[in-house]
């Protein structure tokens, strides 16, 4: 028997590791991957509570997790297009240097 809180702690751990990566890493691509990690942690939280509730409320958690996945896909597509555009104009994706919108 695994208590729900252990699933939630694991989700918090993944979220914290993703947040650490977002704050610390310089490459925009690595930051993006850490954001995806945080989204997965949120998905895991939804599914853990769905496992606890069961019934139709639980299935709502699954439906929301699928919607979160679709939003993450859209965000990844547009975000990577932005990274490509930034690389084309600035020549770098180092977030320590790409700090302002002004060239």
């Amino acid at each position: 028997m695994v208590p729900v809180s252990h699933y939630l702690l694991f989700a918090a751990l993944l979220f914290g590791i993703g947040a650490l990566g977002v704050v610390t890493r310089r490459s925009a691509l690595t930051v993006f991957m850490c954001v995806e990690l945080m989204l997965n942690a949120a998905n895991l939280t939804f599914l853990a509570f769905a496992r606890e509730q069961l019934g139709s409320r639980g299935l709502s958690g699954h439906a929301i997790a699928i919607l979160v996945m679709a939003v993450a896909a859209a965000e990844a597509a547009v975000g990577l297009a932005i990274v490509i555009a930034v690389f084309r104009t600035r020549g770098t994706v180092n977030l320590d240097e790409v700090k302002t919108l002004k060239l």
């Binding site: 914290g16 590791i17 650490l20």
Partner: protein
């Protein structure tokens, strides 16, 4: 030790190692592969939670489509750690790292200080199946479903326009 325990704890540890691999990898390509590894173990945890459809979609959509897109872009840009220059330690990074770690610490303290909880009820037979989740998605979340499909259409058009050299 139940089957759920025997499955969840090793999978969680492996998934956490994959996540750490993403954050610590010098090369973004290695980080992307670590993330795919973490997503696979996460999908297995979703199945342990009874979320069969979400677990399979995790593999198909996240590990199979989103991460492949990441790998395409990483290889297109062909970056290496040497291109990024000197490593700078700023106050923002220190504070942000401390905030993330303290967040994990607070969650851990809450979990281990909590009173013993009742066991989770067994999963019904049709929980997390395609029919059940589909029924819920189309009866309780029709507006959200249509909004997300519109969002995907806008994202397709937007990604093409933003990434083009000359519109």
């Amino acid at each position: 030790m139940s089957v759920e325990q025997a499955l969840f704890y090793p999978l969680a540890i492996l998934s956490t190692l994959g996540a750490l691999g993403v954050v610590l990898a010098k090369n973004p390509l290695h980080g992307a592969l670590w993330l795919v590894c973490s997503f696979f173990f996460l999908a297995a945890i979703y199945v342990v939670l009874g979320a069969h459809l979400v677990g399979i979609l995790q593999i198909i959509v996240y590990a199979g489509a989103i991460m492949v897109l990441f790998l395409f872009v990483i290889m297109l840009l062909a970056l290496s750690e040497a291109d990024l220059g000197e490593r700078k330690v700023t106050l923002f990074k220190i504070l942000g790292g401390a905030a993330a770690l303290s967040g994990i610490g607070i969650a851990a303290r809450l979990v281990f200080a909590a009173p013993p909880q009742t066991a989770l009820r067994p999963i019904p037979a049709d929980f997390g199946t395609v029919a059940a989740v589909g029924r819920t998605l189309f009866t309780e979340f029709p507006l959200q479903f249509e909004a997300v499909s519109l969002l995907l259409l806008v994202a397709i058009a937007g990604a093409v326009v933003v990434a083009k050299a000359r519109i």
